[in-house]
Amino acid sequence: MKSAWIVLKEQISSFYLIRRLSLYELKSENNNNYLGMLWEIINPMIQIGIYWLVFGNLMGNHRLVPLSGHRIPYVWWLISGIFVWFFINPSIVTGGRSIYSRIRFIAKMNFPMSTIPSYVIFAKFYQHLTLTAIVMVILQFAGYPVTIKIIQLPYFMFATLAFLISVTLITSTLTTIVRDLQQVLVSIMRMMIYLTPFLWTPDRLPAFLHPIMLANPMYYIAEGYRASLLGLSWYGLDHIKYTVYFWAFVIIAFMFGSMIHLKFRDHFVDYL
């Protein structure tokens, strides 16, 4: 409990630091490309195109997806969810290796190290905001104009950030100690895209599997984004129990992450 408090205070007091460092992170990643940061947009767009082609067209997925009492054409259902994955996946993968790959550069013990995964996640967040705007524009023309339900979107963005920061606090500490875990993490994330309703629609699943799928907090995020962007429902309120579950997951992960982070952080350099 106490360690969660320390880490939380560190995050808040270093907010300016997190913002500046995330900008530099973004810059140093894209400086070598002629098109620079444009790639942050081009890449996911190509991926969406491929997924739409394969899962939507080639596999003959022309059906309407039932969602909160509405029926949504597969392609809009896909687009309104999959772009969140383009934020979650790289955040978790680079967040996991964030500490051990940067510690040499930081090399100063009084640096608030719990902010390292956070600023790496923030560097991806700018891309996410841009993608969200693009998706919103696309959905305008697809017949899903912005409704009042869009005001849930900032909440789900915040929920996603909280989820990512809590999870990477754990993974970045563990991978620093045992480097192999980064490979495990990459594999898990490769599975997760298929275990979360990003590409296939949950209504095809046998009923008994449904609760198991719901245990994955990313399910909550994906459905929440869809509900806000397509203007379908007040997802967080309609599924209040699920909301409680999600936040319980995040808070417990954050507490556990803070605990192990503080326990090991003085010795991170020794694990290099």
Binding site: Y16, L17, R20, L21, Y24, K27, S28, E29, N31, N32, R104, F105, I106, A107, K108, M109, N110, F111, I177, V178, D266, H267, V269, D270
Partner: protein
């Protein structure tokens, strides 16, 4: 004048694994598996404010480990280091981001060291002037020569105004004019009563600049005192070591290495 740095009974142990399986076993077994190497063994000394201490010793004797511990970059395995104020380490590999320009690196580095926006804006021009690398300041650091890189690293570290400065062979890459400029700056620090640790293999530079000498021999303090007392002893040791035959040198090193290695 008070004590600026108190190092007491500092020991730094490193694990040496011969196989990956040892690494895994060490992680799970409570007693630990594999050999340990003492980089530092029970090192104790203290310095007054305004001291300029030269750390001398042959390669692999633990000088850099000690300087890293004083600067707070790595924690000691046991023992304690008390530092009055902020310590800053200047090393050759000064942790610059290769993709970013010199100017961006200045901001990045200062941010990491806890400066705010306004302070950085005030500091940047004088850092750029001190580094004196011309138009390259807006080029990515990966295009820099090693001399330029150390100039920039040195300029940043020296401008953050630390109370204790640890210089780990950082001057050996710069040319004479830059080295002189740095020595001037360090003399300025000396006058302000800051403590400076200086590591260099140039005995001449050492004699000119430092008052005290700390001789680290194979992870232990061999001698600590005034430069004119310690340095002749060190030079005598070097001479004797050189006189040994190759075989004797190998045996000597073997003996030393054994004394620093323990099981688990």
């Amino acid at each position: 004048m008070g004590k600026s740095v108190i190092v007491s009974h500092v020991t730094k142990k490193y694990k040496m694994y011969t196989k990956t399986s040892e690494k895994i076993l060490d992680l799970i077994s409570p007693k630990g598996v594999g050999k340990s190497f003492y980089a530092l063994q029970d090192v104790s000394f203290d310095t007054e404010e305004g001291d300029v201490v030269g750390i001398i010793g042959v390669n692999g004797s633990g000088k850099s480990t000690l300087s890293n511990i004083i600067a707070g970059v790595i924690p000691p395995t046991s023992g304690s280091v008390k530092v009055k104020g902020e310590a800053s380490l200047i090393a050759i590999a000064s942790g610059l981001n290769n993709q970013l320009s010199g100017r961006e690196n200045i901001e990045l580095k200062c941010l990491m060291l806890g400066f705010n926006k306004k302070e950085i804006r005030e500091l940047a021009p004088s850092i750029i002037e001190f580094a004196d690398i011309g138009d390259f300041i807006d080029q990515p650091v990966k295009t820099y020569s090693s001399g330029m890189r150390s100039r920039l690293g040195f300029a940043i570290s020296i401008h953050i105004d630390p109370d204790i400065l640890v210089i780990d062979e950082a001057l050996s890459v710069g040319d004479q004019t830059f080295a002189d400029k740095c020595l001037d700056k360090m003399n300025e620090f000396k006058k302000q009563g800051k403590t400076i640790f200086f590591i260099s293999h140039s005995i001449g530079q050492m004699k000119r600049f430092c008052e005290k000498a700390l001789w680290i021999q194979y992870g232990k303090v061999e001698d600590y005192g005034m430069m004119e007392d310690v340095m002749p002893e060190y030079e005598r040791f070097i001479k004797e070591y050189k006189k040994m035959s190759r075989q004797e040198q190998i045996e000597f090193q073997e003996k030393v290495r054994k004394s620093r290695t323990v099981n688990a």
